[in-house]
C-alpha cells in the first residue's frame, strides 16, 4: 500500500466507503472528485467496497485518516457532516454476521487499540436520483463542500474523539 505525504509531511489516507452502485456510491464519488482536484498529490486516495471489519487494516495507529461514507441522517440530500467518533461508537451494536458496518468496525478497532492518531469521519446525506439527471446537482454541491472540508482537515489535525463540526 502506497502512502501519500501530507502538507506537513504527514501520511494522509482518505478512504471512500460504500458500494460503487445503488445509491451507496457517495464515498466513491467523493474520492473521484478529490482525485480530480489534485488531492492525490498530498494523500493516498482509496475506495473500499463495503469492507466490514477489513476497514481496520487501513486504520493503523500512526496513520492520519479521513473516512467518507454515505449516511442517512434525515438531512437534505448532499449535506456534508463531520461525525463525532464518540457518537458513532455509541451507535455501534453487537455485530452480526451480516451487519458489521462502519460504527462496529471503528468500535472494534478502538477495542483493539488500533484507531489512527488522527481520524475524521465525514458523512454525505444520501438522496434520490431521478432518471432525468436530477440528483447530479446536489452531488456536485456535496463534493464541492466536501473538498473544502477535507482541505481544512488536512491543515489542522485534531485529536481523536473531537466534537462534530457541522
Amino acid at each position: 500500500m502506497s502512502e501519500g505525504e501530507g502538507k506537513q509531511g504527514v501520511p494522509w489516507r482518505i478512504i471512500g466507503i460504500g458500494s460503487p452502485v445503488a445509491g451507496d456510491d457517495l464515498g466513491w464519488l467523493a474520492i473521484d472528485w478529490l482525485r480530480n482536484a489534485g488531492f492525490d498529490r498530498d494523500a493516498e486516495l482509496l475506495t473500499l467496497d463495503r469492507p466490514g471489519p477489513a476497514l481496520i487494516d487501513y486504520l493503523q495507529p500512526d496513520s492520519w485518516v479521513i473516512l467518507i461514507d454515505a449516511m442517512d441522517a434525515g438531512l437534505p440530500a448532499g449535506s456534508v457532516r463531520e461525525l463525532a467518533l464518540d457518537g458513532i461508537n455509541v451507535r455501534a451494536s453487537a455485530p452480526s454476521s451480516h451487519d458489521l458496518g462502519l460504527a462496529e468496525a471503528l468500535a472494534l478497532a478502538r477495542a483493539l487499540g488500533g484507531l489512527p492518531r488522527h481520524l475524521y469521519v465525514v458523512g454525505i446525506q444520501m438522496g434520490a436520483d431521478g432518471a432525468d439527471g436530477a440528483g447530479q446537482e446536489w452531488r456536485r454541491e456535496a463534493c464541492s463542500a466536501l473538498t473544502t472540508r477535507v482541505r481544512g482537515m488536512m491543515q489542522v489535525p485534531v485529536a481523536v474523539g473531537t466534537e462534530a463540526i457541522s
Binding site: 471489519p53 453487537a94 454476521s97 451480516h98 483493539l112
Partner: protein
Amino acid sequence: MAGVEGTLVSEQREIRIEVPVLARVEGEGALELTASEGRIETLRLRIFEPPRYFEKFLEGREPQEVLDVVARICGICPVAYQMTAVQALEQAFGMRASPYVTQLRRLMYCGEWLQSHALHIHLLALPDFLGFENGIAMAGKHPGAVRRGLRLQRLGNDLIRLFGGRSVHPVGMRVGGFHRAPDAERAAAVLEELKSVLPDAEALVAFTASLDLPDDEQDFVSVALRNENEYAMYSGRIVSDHGLDLPVEDYLERFQESHVAHSTALYAHLDGKPYLVGPLARLNLNHDRLSPPVKSALEATGLRLPSRNMFHSVIARAVEIHEVVLEAIRLLEAYRPEDPAHVPMTPRAGVGCGATEAPRGLLWHRYQVDAAGKVLTAQIVPPTAQNQARIEDDLKCSLEAFGLHNDDDALRLRGEMVVRNYDPCISCATHFLKVRVERR
C-alpha cells in the same frame, strides 16, 4: 444484549420477556415458549420478516441476470448462491463445466467458507464461550483471537475478490465458467498469504476444542452433500446418516417445504421430520474425506464423530477453515490462467437443479427455463430454512436440559447460544429474536 425490557406479573405466576433483537444472528424474529411444571409445552421460532420474493424476481430473467440477482440474497454467502444457480442453469442447458472451471469454482468457494466461518467463530460464537456480551467487548481482553479472526476473514474475502472482482456480490462468474481468469501474479500473492495463515488455521482446531462447551447430546439427522473424491463443497450426492443417498435432482422426492403460521420462511422436512444441515452435519458425514493434516489435527482434539452435540459446531467450523486453507493452497499451487476461462453458453429449454454446501449448509436450486435460457420458474431452498425445524427441536431439548428453573435472562442467553450454533441467516431464509416465556 442491549435493550432488554421485561415485565413481571408475579400474581398470575406468568413471566413475559421481550428482547428486541437476537444479538449476533442475522435477521429478525422471536422465540416464544410456554412451560408448565418444568416442561416446555409449546415453542415457536417466529420469523416475521416479510418474504423477499427472490424466486418471483427471477422469472423472465436471462442467465447472467440470475447470477447477479441471486448474489443479492445474501451479503455473506453470495458465492454459494451463484455457484448453485450456475450449476442448475448449466444442467438445464445440457452443459458441463470443465474440470478447470470446476477447480476454480471450488477455489473461490473456499474463500467464502473461510471468511464466513472466521467471522462466526471469532466475533459471534467466541463471546458466548469466553463470557463476553459481544465481539467488541471481547476484543479488549482477547485481541489476538480477534485479530486472527479478522485476518482469516480478510483472506477469505481476498480469495473471493480474486475470482469475483469484489468480495460482496461478486461479478466474475458466468454460465460456462468465469468472465476471465485472474493474473498469475495476483493468485501467487494470495497463495503466499494463505501459506502464512496455515499455522493459525491449524491451531484454531485445537483452540476451539479446548473451549468449555456445554455437554448437550441430542438425537438428530445430519444431511449434507457427499463427494467421492473430496470434502463436499461444490458438488456431490445428498446423503444422510439415516441411509438417504440421492442425486441432487431428486431432492423434492424426499424433502418437503411447507408453511407454518408463525414463520414467513418455509420449513423443510426430510420425510416429514426435522434435520440438520451445516458444518456439524458435514463433518459427521464427511470427516473421512478431510485431508490428512486436518484429520490429524482433528484426531488430536479427541472429538468423537459423529457428534450429537450442536455446540461442537464451532469445532466443525474450525476444522473446515483448516481444510479450506489447505485446499486453497493446493489449488492455487496448481493454478494457471486460461483464456478464455469459460465455454460458450448454449441455452435450451429445460429444467436444471443444483446443490452446493453454503457455509451454513446445503443449498438447493431448481430452474425451469425457456429456449432462450430465460427463467420460467425458480425454487431456492436455503440452509436456514432447512434448519428451522431442527432449531425448534434443539431449543426444546436444550432449554429443558439446562433447566427451566433458571431465571429468564439465563434462559434467554442459553436459547440464543443454541440458535447461534446454527449461524442462521434469516435474511436468506427470509429473517429473527424476541423471546417471550410464559410459565404456568
